[in-house]
Amino acid sequence: MKKFKITFIFMLILALAFALVGCTNDGGKTGEFMSIEEIVANAKALSNDTGSSQNYEKTKQPNFTVPAGGYDGSKVEIKFYHTMGQNLSTVLEKYITEFNKTYPNIIVNHEQVGGYDDVRNQISTELTVGNQPNIAYCYPDHVALYNLPGAVVTLDNLIDDPNIGLTAEQKADFIEGYYNEGRQFGDGLMYTMPFSKSTEVLYYNETFFTENNLSVPTHWFSEGENDTTSLEYVCKKIKEIDPTSIPLGYDSEANWFITMCEQCGSGYTSAKDPHYLFNNDTNKALLNEFRTWYQNGWITTQTIYGAYTSGLFVAETGTRSYMSIGSSAGATHQRPAKVTIEDEDGNEKSVYPFNVGIASIPQMNPNRPRVISQGPSVCIFNNAGGSSITDQQIVASWLFVRYLVTSVEFQAEFSMASGYVPVLKSVAENPVYKAFTEKANGGDNIAALSAKVCLTQESAYYTSPAFNGSSKARDQVGSLVTKVLSGQTSNVYGFIAEAFEDAIDECEY
């Protein structure tokens, strides 16, 4: 029996030895970071047209030609995968019944598969056996993946078709940046239609800002002593006023990193090989700077904090924040719960504890603004992988997609319900939507205020290049930010350098 005890203890020692191995993470290298002033100067030097202007001449023939006579009116069933929750599905259903008034024989079954990754995983598995749906929410890198077996219908012929295509006004009505997102796959062909978009905005505690006469920050880093409109200055000031607070909560680490790359013109990714360019001195210096901001307790992010930073922004007691950069769609969540107070003549009134202001996010170069554009597009699948999808189903799918993306009423109602931004310019004039945006204020209709801000920064939208594996880069830079900000190390330079290298290895694995 002695033997039994000995082996047991031996196993425990082995385990402890393993555990210790896992703890060392101080990179060996040492060196100097680029100075922030230099980065700001480079950013300012950039002219407005560099970066995301792409040429769209077609290098390939579209893979789908519209059958003669377009839709023959036959009974057709189409399947639509999306990530809409309960409230958005009800809006969708309303417009499906509307759509069926003109096309009674097109039956649209729609299904919430889960999050965006779930949709991708589900379709990538179904594609292997030809079970793919007809229409699906998609992001650029999803489409890159579906294009491996060429399963996505190129919409050019459908768009240009005389009787079921888009009229010139309809085409012009699309917001330029969103429409072009559909044809950034390197061959100039149109793969996706923009469905509903969102961007990032800066929410700030307007009441607090006016009380302490703080100005809304317009750029990141202070230039000179008396620069009171830099985010750096505002954070420092807020920290002095309320030391227990975390001045700024930035929800998405990946968006933050990619936006900084766009604003500073430092490399992130490219559609052509080599794809991953984010391991450069500018980015390392930026993250180092933000690391010190984090250690001063000025900022936190959703993953580090463990929950959406909107929780901090609306908090009344305990730790709270006074600025939050998050999705424009999440406006309603950035508004504090109503509080019942006694007004002067004693009767109870429920009112918001503070007013929320919304502004566009700080920029490195004010006349070259860059802000991320996100939100799903939709794509249509063909009969790749031996699937039984017929041309009529493709045409029917196109009719449904065209109806949704060009119907001003749908775009207006969907945007109001979701907080997303409509893809059509004319939605701004739609009476219902106009009334909605007029009433915009920091309280009850905060969603309208967010929509108004989004409309003002339409020209600043950028989208990252889409290629198979681009979402891996996005995941890696996200965890890179969290790791650099909250990682414990004694040799910061080495630690950051190694973190960047690991991220690149991971992408190229």
Partner: protein, 294 residues
């Protein structure tokens, strides 16, 4: 060998000491068991406790041991948002049908392995046991392709058929059958009872506890399956508990309402818990009776 005078010490004192030791040990045993039981119970208590709190109270710095004001509403809300009703029915249906079918397959196979002699029996059984070691993910992808060829997506068939054969239960039942003396079988053979009659009349009654515990454990399997159902049968009227539960609460923008999620978890665990309480004796006897003698 002269009798060794063993104990000169005063008898009284030794007896008393031993009585004290005996009581002490009893206290120690009970203390150890109670502490371990509390550790096992604590997560359940915490689940119930959290599920009755409001979101704000749930997020307070010092978690409260009992909800300030009890919100049964969470349970109702959990029931609708995750549409637990249909999830339950689906899971129950899949669980029952797959359990009954797999019982038949298990009993027949165990009978063959325990009673009948045929070439290659041991190799086959060893092969079967080896499949227990293979990680499930290995099968998922290929089976997905096979199931699609059969056009079984979004049906109950696809949730039931692939998992009818569970090697562990065949092993468990075979052990149990082996304990039934062989003479019984030979005697039955002599007076002409067919295999099936013998199986039905003698073997099944004798190993009833094990069969019942297999049924219960198999039902629980349906409750816990997660990856496969999501892949092959994710539409509304075929969704099972776990994948229904999983993305019912992950709202894209706002915070997840943890208390309601806990409530859903509690609702999901309740039936299994009740089933176990009533059939505890059988489960215990079933598994131990098969006395896995290695």
């Amino acid at each position: 060998m002269a009798n060794v005078t063993m104990i000169e010490k005063n008898m009284e004192q030794v007896t008393r000491k031993q009585a004290v030791v005996r009581v002490l040990v009893k206290i120690l045993v009970y203390a150890f068991l109670i502490i371990m039981a509390l550790i096992i119970l604590f997560p359940f208590y915490w689940m119930i406790n959290s599920s009755l709190k409001s979101l704000e109270e749930y997020k307070e710095t010092i978690p409260t041991l009992f909800p300030k004001h009890v919100l049964f509403r969470n349970y109702a809300e959990a029931f609708d948002t995750a549409s637990l009703g249909s999830l339950f029915i689906n899971t129950l249906y899949v669980g029952l049908v797959s359990t009954v079918l797999s019982l038949i397959v298990t009993v027949l196979s165990a009978f063959a392995f325990a009673r009948l002699e045929f070439k290659g029996k041991n190799i086959l059984f060893a092969g079967l046991l080896a499949t227990m070691m293979i990680p499930g993910e290995l099968f998922t992808i290929t089976n997905y392709a096979t199931v699609s060829i059969f056009k079984w997506q979004n049906t109950f068939l696809v949730l039931i058929v692939p998992f009818l054969v569970s090697v562990f239960y065949i092993y468990l039942l075979r052990q149990n059958f082996l304990q039934i003396p062989n003479e019984l079988y030979l005697a039955a053979k002599v007076d002409g009872t067919s295999d099936l009659k013998y199986l039905w009349k003698v073997m099944i009654p004798l190993s009833l506890p094990t069969l019942i515990s297999i049924t219960i454990l198999k039902m629980m399997g349906a409750w816990n399956s997660y990856v496969w159902p999501r892949l092959v049968a994710n539409d509304a009227n075929h969704k099972l508990i776990t994948n229904g539960l999983r993305n019912a609460f992950s709202t894209t923008t706002g915070d997840v309402n943890y208390p309601v999620q806990m409530a859903a978890v509690a609702i999901v665990s309740a039936p299994l818990f009740l089933v176990f309480i009533f059939l505890r004796k059988y489960i215990m006897k079933g598994v131990s009776r098969s006395g896995i003698k290695g």
